[in-house]
């Protein structure tokens, strides 16, 4: 077990930038190739995490690194404090996995200022990985804010028509939320210090142990929660998302959807909920209601979009609603469903943005009405698009099913039953908008002469999609690979969230469940956490 694996993984892309600076700016191929190599190497560095069985046996933090960073006597102290557990494991893997795919997607799409683009991608990777593995709130905040800068440039420089508006909106929206969180972090720290806790930094585990009065938890949860809700994004704070997604270049949209939105949901699971468990029951009904509204509203708006990319963007709002609902059900099924759905959304929505990118590169339009009958011209594309569509809808056998099913199941078993009833309608709506767009774009006769000569996917494009397809089915058929390593950490986290709580949920013996849900739930029962 490498002692500094997390540091090496996190800062490897940053080192890549230093080398990148010395590659001539007009050598686009080399720049792209080098960046691809760096992201692949980062993925390789992170692979031992995925194969490490320690996550299946212990829900603690592993691969820890701890160095004193800032220590100003009795003023404050911050540490370089890293670690990974079952909750962050798959998000870290998702990040390192999606990055090479995003780089590959830029091969033909980006032709101006390639050097800058690649540098921004690598900086973004460092920031995202850093945010997932930081265990010191201050360090987390630094990485969290750092993510904004590269994404701002990605949207603003390489984006579409309306890119400047979208970039500024994205930046200011997210920054306002995080600035309030910053005050909350500072307040939390000084509250802890002044109430006599012996804080050796902004370490998250030390904050977990605090016993904060309800009133304080309420306000701090609000500050953290709003910040994360903007990032998720939850209705009604989602308005930056369609703009940012639509204007961003394909690679930017993929990363935004696959990883950056997960920062919000991860923030809830890692920070807002376990830090302020007593405030949690107060907020859950409202947040769950917003999640359900997000599901239905996102689906309905997606249905009416004429631009495919906007459609996918709004579908994100809906998908993230399922994640939040699962997480808020505060039981193992729900949390597992929410967590796996984060990964699923990363894979299927990432793939959908790539698909939109493929046809955009061919036709330079994304309007649904411009297409029709592509299936006859692009059979491979049609197949892949079909599989991803099914995954996005949540057809059994694909990853989307496992996640949505378990999230809804968790919600049914908790006191969010009625929310789950309404949320389930979102599954149907998803089928409506996805199948409808698929039908309009792919089926029928080719009516637009411009579509007559479209080429099917190139080898590069197929290579991009294959790993994603692999995980669509892997998670769909045998999710236990993933659940087994998440469960111990999730149980620990549920204990933390349920602290001071009298039986939030009763764990029912689940009825016969198909596919992976069964295994995960079965696994969960062996370690059934006590919530009293």
């Amino acid at each position: 077990m490498a002692d500094n694996l997390l540091s090496i993984m996190t800062f490897f892309p940053l080192l890549g930038i230093l080398v990148l600076l010395f590659i001539p700016r007009d050598n686009g191929g080399l720049l792209k190739g080098f960046t691809l190599a760096i992201t692949l190497a980062t993925f390789a560095i992170s692979l031992p995490l995925a194969f490490d069985n320690v996550f299946a046996t212990s829900g603690d933090m592993h691969y820890r690194e701890f160095y004193e960073w800032i220590n100003i006597g009795n003023f404050f102290q911050m540490n370089y404090n890293l670690g990974v557990d079952g909750i962050s494991l798959w998000l870290v893997m998702l990040t390192t996995f999606i990055m090479p795919i995003s780089v590959l997607s830029t091969w033909n799409a980006i032709d101006k200022n390639i050097k800058g683009f690649m540098a921004m991608l690598l900086l973004l990777e460092t920031a995202m990985l850093g945010a997932f593995v930081s265990l010191d709130l201050f360090l987390f905040y630094i990485f969290w804010e750092l993510m904004l800068i590269p994404m701002y440039f990605l949207i603003g420089i390489w984006g579409g028509q309306n890119r400047i508006y979208a970039a500024i909106k994205f930046f200011i929206y997210t920054a306002v939320g995080s600035l309030l969180m910053l005050v909350a972090i500072i307040y939390l720290y000084y509250y802890a210090v002044q109430s006599g806790a012996n804080m050796s930094g902004f370490g998250i585990e030390e904050f977990y142990k605090l016993d904060l009065p309800y009133n304080l938890q309420f306000w701090l949860f609000l500050a953290f929660g709003v910040s994360f809700a903007i990032k998720v994004p939850m209705f009604p704070l989602h308005t930056w998302l369609p703009d940012a997604h639509t204007e961003a270049p394909t690679a930017g949209s993929v990363i935004l959807a696959a990883v950056m939105l997960k920062m919000g949901t991860y923030g809830y699971v890692r920070f807002a909920m376990p830090l302020f468990p007593q405030a949690l029951p107060t907020f859950i009904p409202y947040l769950s209601a917003l999640a359900v509204i997000g599901i239905i509203y996102g689906s309905l708006v997606a249905m009416m979009q004429e631009d495919i990319k906007k459609l996918v963007a709004y579908s994100s709002v809906a998908h993230l609603g399922f994640v939040m609902l699962g997480v808020f059900s505060l039981n193992l099924q729900g949390l597992a469903g929410g967590m796996i759905q984060m990964v699923n959304h990363g894979i299927s929505t990432g793939a959908l943005f790539l698909i939109v990118g493929f046809i955009y590169e061919r036709r330079h339009t994304r309007l649904i009405t411009e297409f029709g009958g592509l299936a006859t011209k692009m059979p491979i594309f049609a197949t892949i698009f079909m599989i991803i569509t099914f995954s996005s809808i949540g057809l059994p056998g694909t990853n989307g099913f496992v996640g949505e099913f378990m999230a809804l199941m968790g919600a049914f078993q908790s006191n969010l039953r009625w929310y789950a009833v309404f949320a389930t309608s979102g599954v149907i709506l998803a089928a409506v908008y996805m199948l409808w767009v698929y039908q309009r774009v792919m089926f029928g006769k080719v009516t637009n002469p411009k579509n007559e000569n479209l080429k099917d996917l190139s080898a590069r494009e197929i290579i991009i999609m294959l790993p994603l397809l692999l995980f669509v089915f892997w998670i769909g058929v045998y999710p236990n690979t993933f659940f087994s390593k998440m469960n111990p950490a999730m149980e620990k986290m549920l204990d933390q969230m349920g602290r001071n709580e009298v039986a939030i949920v009763e764990m029912h013996q689940p009825a016969a469940v198909e596919h992976g849900a069964e295994q995960a739930v079965g696994h969960g029962d062996e370690h059934a956490p006590s919530h009293d």
Partner: protein, 486 residues
């Protein structure tokens, strides 16, 4: 009065004023050098001034952990003074580095410019080490008089004339306020020493409600608030900042401001400690007003110098937050923030110095469209300064703001901290707009006139290295700032 003079003469401790003495000595010598130099040759004076600053820096450093008091308790050269002296010296050094080519470009290659900067800096150092209101006033005047000249240095440019004149008139008024305040305080307490005033208040708690005492204290503070450009005493700032030579604008926004903060902190926290709740709540309002006015007016500026002028007003507001906190964290935070602000603001101005054509009509938002593509390195560096001014990690601007707001929250001023971060959010917009112009617009100009010369490059390199170093490894300097607080 004669007693006072005699007392002071018995207490001579040249070590306590040695840094200023050295700097003034260099300044006068360089004035003579200028007289005997060929007209239009200025570079040697510039380099000699830098040597003077470095030598003074070492002299100043000898006072670290070795406090020197002298002149009957009117000067105290302690860690606090050392820290501020070094900030002023740094500001002066960066300013001189970016000046030489600039003076030639604008057609004023006059070497007296440099000794004037040295005198200003000496005045600033006096202010930081003064613990007698008269010493502080003396420092303030030395600083101001040189600055009036520097602001109007381009004597045939109307804008520069306007800047000089405006600064002079309003500066004179504010000095009047300050002296009036000193007189009133002397009338009540019978002393001009800062600690003497504090001792008087401790002995006579009733003084706190004495109208004359309060009026004196307020007038005194107004004098300083004018220098740090806190709203509503900021009206002079935009015109003076826009009209003055760009390096002088940069210098004004950092060095004299830091000195005025030093004096303000001493006077408020040591002298007016008895009035803590009143003064602190006054600063509360002023801090919010200053941040808000600065940020909201900056939103609508097209001229970059003017925008940075308003931004500098808002940064004075952030620093005032540390003063409201009135605790050790807040005080050290101001020290740290002044250093950070000096680095990032002078860095940004150094880029503007390079970017301007003669008479600088092109320093507008539209004038820099696509700049980032034509001059990639300068573009990246300018962006780093802007992100630091926004207060985003991993730059020093973030750490500085964190330190300030930590002080406020620790003292219980959560709302002030919230208003502060919301103000930061507003400021994002106008800084981002510069980046939008630099990177998101296509270049209309070739920016061929932008040529990087070594001195400016050094100045920018120091600033950017400082901004990143203090943003990622702030520990050492933060601890020094802690030791420098009193």
């Amino acid at each position: 009065m004669e007693n006072l003079v005699q007392e002071a003469m018995q207490n001579v401790n040249l070590q306590a004023i040695m840094p200023s003495l050295v700097l003034c000595g260099f300044g006068m010598a360089l004035l003579m050098v200028s007289v005997f130099s060929k007209r239009g040759s200025t570079a040697h004076v510039a380099w000699l001034s830098l040597v003077a600053l470095v030598v003074t820096g070492f002299v100043a450093l000898s006072g670290w952990n070795n406090p020197q008091a002298g002149f009957a308790g009117s000067v105290l050269y302690d860690n606090f003074a050392v820290f501020f002296s070094l900030i002023c010296l740094l500001a002066a050094g960066l300013t001189i580095l970016m000046s030489d080519k600039y003076l030639h470009r604008e057609g004023y290659p006059v070497s007296e410019y440099y000794p004037l900067i040295l005198f200003t800096t000496a005045g600033a150092m006096w202010m930081a080490s003064g613990i007698d209101l008269m010493t502080i006033f003396l420092g303030l005047e030395v600083l101001s008089v040189s600055l009036y000249v520097l602001a109007g240095f381009f004597r045939r440019q109307v804008r520069s004339n306007e800047a000089g004149l405006k600064y002079f008139f309003l500066g004179a008024f504010s000095t009047g306020f300050l002296l009036y305040g000193v007189a009133l305080l002397y009338g009540v307490t019978g002393t001009t020493k800062v600690d003497g005033i504090a001792a008087y208040v401790t002995a006579n708690p009733a003084a706190v409600t004495n109208t004359m005492f309060i009026a004196g204290g307020v007038l005194l503070l107004v004098g300083f608030l004018f220098k740090i450009a806190a709203a509503p005493f900021h009206m002079w700032t935009p015109d003076v900042y826009q009209g003055a030579p760009t390096p002088i604008t940069a210098f004004m926004s950092a060095g004299p401001k830091a000195a005025a903060f030093a004096a303000l902190m001493r006077v408020a926290i040591v002298g007016l400690d008895g009035l803590q709740s009143e003064v602190s709540s006054m600063f509360w309002i002023l801090a919010v007003l200053t941040m808000t006015v600065g940020n909201f007016i900056a939103l609508n500026q097209k001229n970059l110098k003017r925008m940075l002028a308003y931004s500098s007003i808002s940064h004075a507001g952030y620093a005032l937050v540390g003063l409201v906190a009135w605790n050790k964290i807040g005080l050290s935070a101001i020290l740290f923030y002044m250093l950070v602000y000096t680095l990032m603001n002078l860095g940004a101005f150094a880029v503007l110095v390079l970017l301007g054509k003669q008479s600088e009509e092109n320093l507008t938002l539209d004038g820099i469209a696509g700049f980032g593509y034509k001059k990639p390195l300068l573009g990246v560096v300018f962006s780093i300064f802007l992100f630091s001014l926004m207060g985003l990690p991993p730059t020093a601007g973030f750490i500085g703001k964190f330190y300030i707001f930590a002080g406020a929250v620790e003292a219980g001023y959560v709302w002030l901290a919230i208003l502060g971060v919301l103000n930061s959010a507003v400021s994002l917009y106008y800084y981002l707009r510069v980046i939008v112009q630099m990177y998101f617009k296509s270049p209309e100009e070739d920016f061929a006139w932008v040529s990087i010369n070594a001195p400016v490059a050094i100045s920018i390199a120091i600033s950017v290295a400082g901004v990143l170093y203090l943003g990622i490894f702030p520990n050492t300097v933060m601890n020094l700032a802690k030791l420098a607080g009193f």
